[in-house]
């Protein structure tokens, strides 16, 4: 149950803090990082998103960036996503087709196939509700009181596959996108935290949660600095508990109201 009144004025909303923790896959340079994350926290509803560009496509980083910017620019609903997708696809093509035309045969062929990415959009509404929409296996974790209140759309590490649903940068049939697009909703409270994670990080955190002796727990992420995250990722990769993949974690904290936190 929400601790907030049903429809509070925007200036009565608690402060929301967002940090993006990102580490490229090992052995790759920073400019080869193909995840994307963004947050819009200045006005309500607060909107955030993460996306994971598919390695086996070209211009995937640009596609992931267009998706997170696009999805946080409007309501977080499947209808909005399906309606806006052609606009994002046109923007990708406008930027990339000319560049691809002057490139070798393999870049042309890959650009023709288009880029692919998974996407998770998240919205914190002033009425105490949150909404999420997604395609593929980026994961939302809702944290409360030092534990996990829920995860979506993947619940266990075994549920990850090598073939998640993907959003294409070239037009495909609307039905394919509609079938792949999922949505959920819930209620938030002051003090809650939300994590938006790309697949490798999500699988690692969920696996850690299942192991009682694991050195890492999802709730740890609430206090991680980028340095902490880098260290945890490096350790987990070397121990084989985290796949070597671009690793992105967006941490959203709903702080206590300013009056209460002034002394903290």
């Amino acid at each position: 149950m929400s601790m907030l009144p049903a429809d509070p004025a925007p200036d009565e909303q608690p402060p929301v803090q967002v940090r993006v923790l990102a580490v490229p896959k090992g052995g790759a340079s920073a400019d080869e990082y193909e995840d994307a994350a963004t947050a819009q926290v200045d006005t309500w509803p607060v909107r955030t998103a993460v996306a994971d560009g598919a390695t086996e496509s070209v211009f995937a980083r640009e596609w992931a960036n267009l998706l997170v910017e696009g999805v946080t620019d409007g309501p977080i609903t499947p209808t909005a996503l399906v309606n806006e997708l052609p606009t994002w696809q046109a923007a990708w093509a406008a930027r990339r087709d000319e560049q691809a035309a002057a490139a070798p045969w393999y870049v042309q062929a890959k650009a023709e196939e288009g880029a692919f990415a998974t996407l998770l959009g998240f919205e914190l509404c002033a009425d105490g509700q949150w909404r999420a929409v997604g395609v593929g296996d980026c994961v939302l974790l809702h944290l409360r009181d030092g534990g996990i209140r829920g995860t979506w759309p993947v619940e266990t590490p075994e549920d990850f596959t090598n073939r998640p649903a993907l959003l294409p940068s070239r037009p495909r049939s609307d039905a394919l996108v509609q079938n792949a697009c999922r949505a959920t909703t819930g209620e938030w409270q002051v003090g809650d935290g939300f994590l938006l994670a790309t697949d490798a990080v999500a699988a690692w955190l969920l696996r850690s949660q299942e192991r009682s002796k694991s050195p890492v727990a999802p709730a740890d992420a609430r206090t991680w600095s980028l340095e902490d995250f880098r260290n945890a990722v490096a350790t987990a990769r070397s121990e084989g508990t985290l796949h070597n993949d671009d690793s992105t974690l967006l941490v959203l904290e709903i702080a206590a109201p300013l009056d209460d936190s002034a002394s903290a």
Binding site: G27, T55, A100, P104, S173, E239, N244
Partner: protein, 304 residues
């Protein structure tokens, strides 16, 4: 992390399975094709005339299939900035001669006959244009012209010196493994339509498969192209699934490696039922089963 926690986490590490090495530019894998170029490859696939097909020769179908597969391998590695060397690739033809069909240029010759795939991507023998149907986004299709790289053309002459080809392959992978001891091991795919004419290939196959990286032994898969109308035997787990009167089929079965985990998963996704004993082998392959198997057998795992 406090020391006790770290020790505990080490206790929970699982021993690494073979054939699970990450494939990256720092740690590529190798794919080597052995292609039968004997005189009998001039014939069409079994049953092609009866079904009224235009009946291209088996050599033509094989050259087209392998050119397409090399193109797909390049595309899997292609990024906007260039082709990433996840694979080193070689093609050995055996018929009138036993020879490497893909020659590295002078400035880059690793000495193994296995060429980094970026090198292959930039040096096809020629480019052909072809018309391809693509999804138009409205539930229909539209035609578009695409460029198609050709690395080699069909050949068919003389006998089937498979033992020499396996021996040359063994030299290639041995030298390559010396340079890449931690990689996913080389995958060798032998495509043939007949019996070896230069000895017992099982001995050479066993020698080839005895080479190993830290991640496992060399994988040897065999595809036997159909001369008859018999239904293909795809991915058998036991010799009892093969034609009972065909000793040669059993030799090829014994020559073939078991499919590692990642390829068993790929096979299951293609609708095959597999076991731990499933071999990377197709007997009496038609063009469709040839393409399907090559797709499964050249997908070792995700690229990083």
């Amino acid at each position: 992390m406090p020391l006790p926690c770290r020790l505990l986490s080490l206790l929970f590490l699982e021993p690494r399975m073979p054939y699970s090495a990450e494939i990256s530019r720092q740690q590529p894998t190798a794919i080597l094709f052995l292609l039968d170029q004997s005189a009998s490859m001039q014939e069409p696939f079994g049953g092609a005339e009866q079904t009224g097909d235009a009946a291209p020769s088996r050599a033509r179908v094989l050259a087209d299939t392998v050119n397409d597969l090399l193109q797909n391998l390049v595309l899997r590695c292609a990024k906007e900035e260039g082709v990433r060397d996840y694979f080193h690739v070689g093609v050995i033809g055996y018929g009138q001669r036993v020879q490497q069909l893909i020659q590295p240029t002078e400035e880059y010759d690793p000495g193994t006959g296995l060429v980094p795939i970026s090198h292959l991507a930039d040096r096809p023998q020629r480019m052909e244009q072809r018309v391809k149907e693509v999804d138009d986004g409205d539930g229909g299709t539209t035609e578009t012209r695409v460029k198609r790289p050709i690395w080699f053309d069909p050949r068919a002459k003389n006998g089937t010196p498979m033992c020499q080809a396996l021996d040359l392959a063994a030299q290639s992978v041995r030298d390559w493994i010396d340079q890449h001891p931690h990689s996913f091991p080389p995958i060798v795919v032998n495509v043939t339509d007949g019996e070896a004419t230069d000895g017992d290939p099982l001995r050479y196959a066993q020698e080839l498969r005895s080479f190993a990286t830290d991640d496992g032994e060399v994988l040897l898969f065999n595809v036997h192209l159909s001369e008859s109308e018999e239904t293909p035997v795809e991915l058998p787990s036991s010799p009892s699934e093969l034609p009972s009167d065909d000793e040669y089929a059993e030799v090829l079965f014994q020559m073939s490696s078991r499919l590692p985990f990642s390829m068993r998963s790929a096979a299951e996704q293609e609708g095959y039922s597999v076991t731990l004993d499933t071999r990377g082998f197709v007997f009496n392959a038609d063009p469709v089963s040839l393409v399907t198997f090559l797709e499964i057998g050249t997908r070792p795992s995700n690229l990083r």
